[in-house]
């Protein structure tokens, strides 16, 4: 049986010099500490205040009402998402590979009810006009509801805003103007933040409903675009202001900028529609390859072919110094 070579055997014949590892570590900690303290003192760190549903509704009430209307129509991202939120969409897949479906609806989200109807039902307990209009909505056929949401959504494209209130051209929108103006008022006052977040509980650390709702709108993603944070802007590597983001994700985010991942036609069934899945698979394979470099021909031989090691071990390759 082959026994492991001891260090003494491994270094046999190699000249050994005094080397103080702990002193080097202490100096490194001190040196890095000075750099960290300096950067912190002079550059601080990013901390732009989060967007609330209230600030969204106050700053862009038309976008807020459009999003809420689209939630009722079932046309927002979350309403048609698929698992793990609901079964309204197919989710991403590549051929027969559809991991998004594997674990079912583990984080259920019913967008229309959760973001619009249920908050309005709570508000309607002290508002008879709203209660009556909600009743009209819920007794209407889905076909009729669809006509109202389509008409109101189209009217919102030319809506005007005065004192935070949204006004649309006259039309047949059923109960939607009353429902939406009440939801907007509730949101502008901060009530919708509380209703979506707390939802019958006291302690709460899960922001899924609020973030999904805001993600369906155009306001928060619009601010992200202005800050160069979106996926098509290499956003994973950026933070607000001029701060670096997760720059170590450069390779991951790069794939989103190139074909087939940014193309609608794609290649071998991978395109912009299932880019997330394709890139996760690719990065998993690349990470495995990095871990297994010692066993992969060519990859493990490159360090021998490119003589950077001669710069690293300059003393070893110098004929004057080598023992």
């Amino acid at each position: 049986m082959k026994t492991m070579q001891t260090q003494e055997e491994y270094y046999s014949g190699v000249r050994m010099l005094r080397y103080d590892l702990l002193k080097e570590l202490v100096l490194a900690v001190a040196g890095v500490g000075i750099v960290v303290l300096g950067l912190s003192a002079f550059l601080s760190s990013p901390d732009v205040a989060p967007v609330t549903i209230a600030t969204w509704a106050q700053n862009d009430p038309v976008d807020f009402e459009t999003t809420a209307t689209n939630e009722l129509a079932g046309s927002t991202t979350s309403a048609a998402y698929g698992n793990p939120y609901n079964t309204n969409g197919p989710g991403q897949s590549w051929g027969p590979l559809a991991p998004q479906k594997w674990f079912g609806t583990r984080i259920p989200i019913d967008s229309a009810n959760e973001f619009v109807i249920q908050p309005l039902q709570r508000a309607a307990s002290s508002n008879t006009a709203l209660s009556a209009q909600l009743d009209v909505w819920q007794k209407a056929s889905s076909d009729q509801q669809g006509k109202w949401t389509a008409a109101y959504s189209a009217a919102l494209a030319t809506a005007t805003v005065k004192d935070g209130q949204v006004t649309v051209a006259d039309g047949d929108y059923g109960p939607l103007p009353v429902m939406m103006s009440n939801l907007l008022g509730l949101a502008q006052a901060g009530g919708l933040d509380g209703l979506l977040q707390v939802n019958g509980r006291f302690y709460q650390t899960d922001y899924t409903p609020s973030l999904v709702f805001m993600g369906d709108g155009g306001y928060l993603p619009g601010l992200a675009h202005q800050a160069n944070l979106t996926g098509s802007q290499w956003g994973m590597m950026n933070e607000t202001g001029s701060y670096p983001g997760q720059t170590w994700l450069w390779l991951y985010t790069m794939w989103y900028q190139v074909p087939p991942f940014n193309s609608s036609t794609g290649f071998l069934g991978i395109n912009s529609g299932n880019a997330d899945l394709g890139i996760i698979i690719l990065m998993t394979l690349l990470t495995a390859a990095l871990a297994l470099v010692p066993f992969i021909p060519i990859l493990r031989d490159i360090p021998r072919w490119i003589p950077i090691h001669r710069l690293i071990w300059r003393a070893y390759y110098s004929p004057k110094v080598r023992p």
């Binding site: 500490g33 960290v36 470099v293």
Partner: protein
């Protein structure tokens, strides 16, 4: 029979003998190194460890004081900045260390497992930093969560790893993932000390493990 001494079947004795044989103190804390260790490339490893130290120190203070502190007080903001910049430096140094080890073919002569654990540390560090960015409680954290959920969901991971759930991300960031990184870094260092630094690539160029 002397019952005051452990017998040859003693697990404790066997582990102690194994450690004494494989990791004697003069290997764990050596005061001599091969002359070719006097190269700048070896600094990358030690400054990576130093950066981890500052990440952990600033992170412990932030965790102790709680999530509101780093938004509401100047001192909290300063410690948040220390955490932010030490993480940035940690990744810069770790990537330099990784490239250095690659061009040294540091996996040679029975060191492939040390390389492999290093890559695992890199991966878990990325996950730790990702959960940290999600735990910032600012606009960046909001958008990162909204944007990243689609990739997690597409991979099937979103059903269990909900990036929109601050409580889950914060718990992973301050507890489970750092424990993983610290234990694996300790194991990585022990493995380096057990085998010693790899010899230079020889004239025949044996880059294989």
């Amino acid at each position: 029979m002397d019952t005051t001494k452990p017998g040859p079947s003693s697990w404790t004795l066997r582990v102690r003998q194994l450690l004494e044989r494989r990791l004697p103190m003069d290997h764990l804390l050596p005061d001599r190194q091969p002359y070719y260790v006097g190269s700048w490339v070896y600094v990358f490893g030690v400054i990576t460890i130093a950066a981890v130290g500052w990440v952990v120190l600033s992170g412990v203070v932030l965790a102790f004081m709680g999530p509101q502190w780093w938004h509401d007080s100047r001192l909290g903001r300063f410690f948040n900045s220390m955490h932010f910049w030490s993480v940035q430096l940690f990744f810069i140094f770790m990537v330099l260390h990784l490239w250095g080890q690659y061009f040294m073919a540091g996996w040679r002569h029975g060191r492939a497992s040390t390389w492999l654990i290093g890559v695992v540390i890199f991966g878990i560090s990325i996950l730790t930093a990702f959960t940290g960015y999600l735990s910032q409680q600012n606009f960046d954290a909001q958008y990162i969560a909204i944007n990243a959920k689609d990739a997690m969901n597409a991979a099937g991971a979103g059903a269990f790893f909900n990036v929109l759930n601050f409580g889950q991300m914060y718990g992973l960031h301050v507890m489970l993932l750092p424990i993983g990184v610290i234990l694996l870094v300790a194991l990585h260092i022990v493995m380096v000390r057990m085998r010693g630094v790899v010899k230079p690539i020889d004239a025949e160029g044996a880059a294989r493990s």
